[in-house]
Amino acid sequence: MSSISSNPIESLSTGFIYNLELFALTLLLALPLGLIIMFFTTSKFKPLAWVSKVFVWIIRGTPLMLQLFVVLYAPGLLFEIPMSNRFTAAVIAFVINYACYFSEIYRGGIESIPKGQYEAGQVLGMTRSQIFFKIILLQVIKRIIPPMGNEVITLVKDTSLSRIIGIAEIIMCAERFTKQGLIWPLFSTGLYFLLFNGILTILFGFIEKKMDYFRA
C-alpha cells in the first residue's frame, strides 16, 4: 500500500483517485462489453442466447460484493493461478457486473424502436447496416441516456465496494481516522461523491439537452 498520509484531506484525495480509476476503467471497458453481451443475449443462435441470459441473470442476481470475492479468490482456488493484483480483480468484477446491466439497457433501447423505422429504411433500399447506423442508433442513444445516467451514478458510489478486497479507496482511507477517534473524514467522503456525481449529472443533462431537437 502506498504511503499513508496523516493529513485527512490528502489521504481521502489519494483514496478517491482509486475510486475514479476504477470508475473510468469500468466505464471504458463495460460500455463495449455490454454491447457484445447484448448481441449474445439477442442472438438467433439459441444456445448462445440461453447461456448468455443465464450469465446475465447470475451477475445481476448476486451481490457485486460477492462477485469481487469470487474474482479475487476463484482463479487461485480453482486453477491455481492466484490473482496477483487486487485492483485488477476489482476492475474485472466491476466490468463484468456493469456490462451485464448495460447490455440490458441497450436491449431495452433497441427493442423500443418501432418496427416501422426499420421498414421505412428497408423500402427505401437501405442496407441493414445503413438502417442501424443512420436511423436506429441515434434514436437508441437518445432513449438510453437517462437509464445510463442512473447506472453511471450508481457506479461512482459502487466503486467503494472495492474496499472489501482491500483496495485503499476513499472510505477505507477515512476509516483509519475513525479508529483514531476522528469522525469527520468519514462523513466528508460524501462530499467527494456528491461533487463528482454533480458533475456527471450536469454532463448527462447537457447530453440530453443536445438531443432534445428531435422526439423519438
Binding site: P114, G116, Q117, E119, A120, G121, Q122, V123, L124, G125, M126, T127, R128, Q130, K134, I135, L138, Q139, K142, Y213, F214, R215, A216
Partner: protein, 261 residues
C-alpha cells in the same frame, strides 16, 4: 404492357391463410384502390409487394421482369431484395418518418446512400448531393412543404408528416407507389390535404396501389378497384362497376355498411 402483374399470390402466417391466391395486373399510370374489411389481407398484399413479407407462394412481375417467384428454388439475397423493392415506393399508415432528420433530409437520405454505389460517387460527391437536394426541394414543393424543409417531423401536423412521407417515397422514382391506409392515423380534418396530394399524383398518371377505407376517395381517384374478402379477390373492376353494380352479395353488404355511416 402491364407494369405490375401478380400471379397466384399466397401468404400464410403459420396455419393462418391470409392471402389465398391473388391474381391481378396493373397498367402503367393506373391507380388501383384496394378495399375490404379489416383482416381481409389488403395490407399483407401490399407488404408482400414491398418484400416486407415473403409470399408463401406465387409470382410478382414488374415490367415483365420476375421480381419474385416462389418456384425458383434459390432464395433471394439481401442485395437482390433491395434492388427489387426499389420498383415500389411505400407510404405507411403511421408515416414512419425518421425523427432525427429534417424534412429535407428525410427525403434525401436514401438517395444519398444509394448514390454511394455509383462509380463516380467519390469524384462528384458534391455535385451529386446538390442534385439530390434540388430534387428534394422540387418534390417537397409539389406536396406543398417547401417552407418546412428545416423542420423536424415532431414539429409538423400528421397531415404534413404524411405529405413528407409521400415526398420521401417519390424521391426514388418508384414504378409503383403503394399506400397503406395513408389517412387512417389522421384526424378527419387533416385527411383532405393528404388525399389532395394523392389525387394530384393520380392526375399526373403516377402508378399507384392504394389501400384505403375512404370509399368516396377510392371511387374518385382510382381506375380499378379491388375488393378483398377473406384473402381472395371478391370483386374487381372499374370504380363504377364495383361501387354501382357490384356482382357479389358480399361486396354489396360491405359497401352498404360503409355508405350508411
Amino acid at each position: 404492357m402491364a407494369i405490375l402483374e401478380v400471379k397466384n399470390l399466397r401468404k400464410n402466417f403459420g396455419s393462418l391463410e391470409v392471402l389465398k391466391g391473388i391474381d391481378f395486373s396493373l397498367e402503367k399510370g393506373e391507380v388501383l384502390a384496394m378495399i375490404g374489411a379489416s383482416g381481409s389481407g389488403k395490407t399483407t398484399l401490399l407488404r408482400c409487394l414491398n418484400f416486407l413479407e415473403r409470399p408463401t407462394e406465387g409470382q410478382i412481375f414488374v415490367k415483365d421482369n420476375v421480381i419474385f417467384d416462389s418456384s425458383d428454388a434459390r432464395s433471394l439475397g439481401e442485395a437482390e431484395i433491395r434492388k427489387n423493392r426499389l420498383h415500389f415506393g411505400m407510404v405507411f399508415q403511421a408515416f414512419n418518418l425518421f425523427p432525427q432528420y429534417t424534412v429535407l433530409k428525410n427525403c434525401t437520405l436514401a438517395k444519398e446512400l444509394l448514390a454511394q454505389e455509383r462509380p463516380d460517387y467519390k469524384s462528384r460527391k458534391k455535385e451529386i448531393f446538390e442534385e439530390i437536394r434540388e430534387q428534394g426541394l422540387e418534390i417537397l414543393d409539389k406536396v406543398g412543404l417547401r417552407d418546412r424543409i428545416d423542420y423536424y417531423p415532431h414539429q409538423l401536423s400528421g397531415g404534413q408528416q404524411q405529405r413528407v412521407a409521400i415526398a420521401r417515397a417519390l424521391m426514388l422514382q418508384p414504378d409503383i407507389l403503394c399506400f397503406d391506409e395513408p389517412t387512417s392515423a389522421l384526424d378527419p380534418e387533416l385527411t383532405g390535404e393528404v388525399l389532395k396530394v394523392i389525387k394530384g399524383l393520380a392526375d399526373h398518371h403516377t402508378t399507384m396501389v392504394i389501400v384505403t377505407h375512404e370509399m368516396q376517395f377510392a371511387r374518385d381517384v382510382s381506375d380499378k378497384v379491388l375488393f378483398l374478402d377473406q384473402g381472395v379477390i371478391a370483386e374487381y373492376g372499374t370504380p363504377s362497376q364495383v361501387f354501382e353494380n357490384p356482382t357479389e352479395e358480399r361486396t354489396k353488404q360491405f359497401l352498404e355498411r360503409y355508405f350508411e355511416n
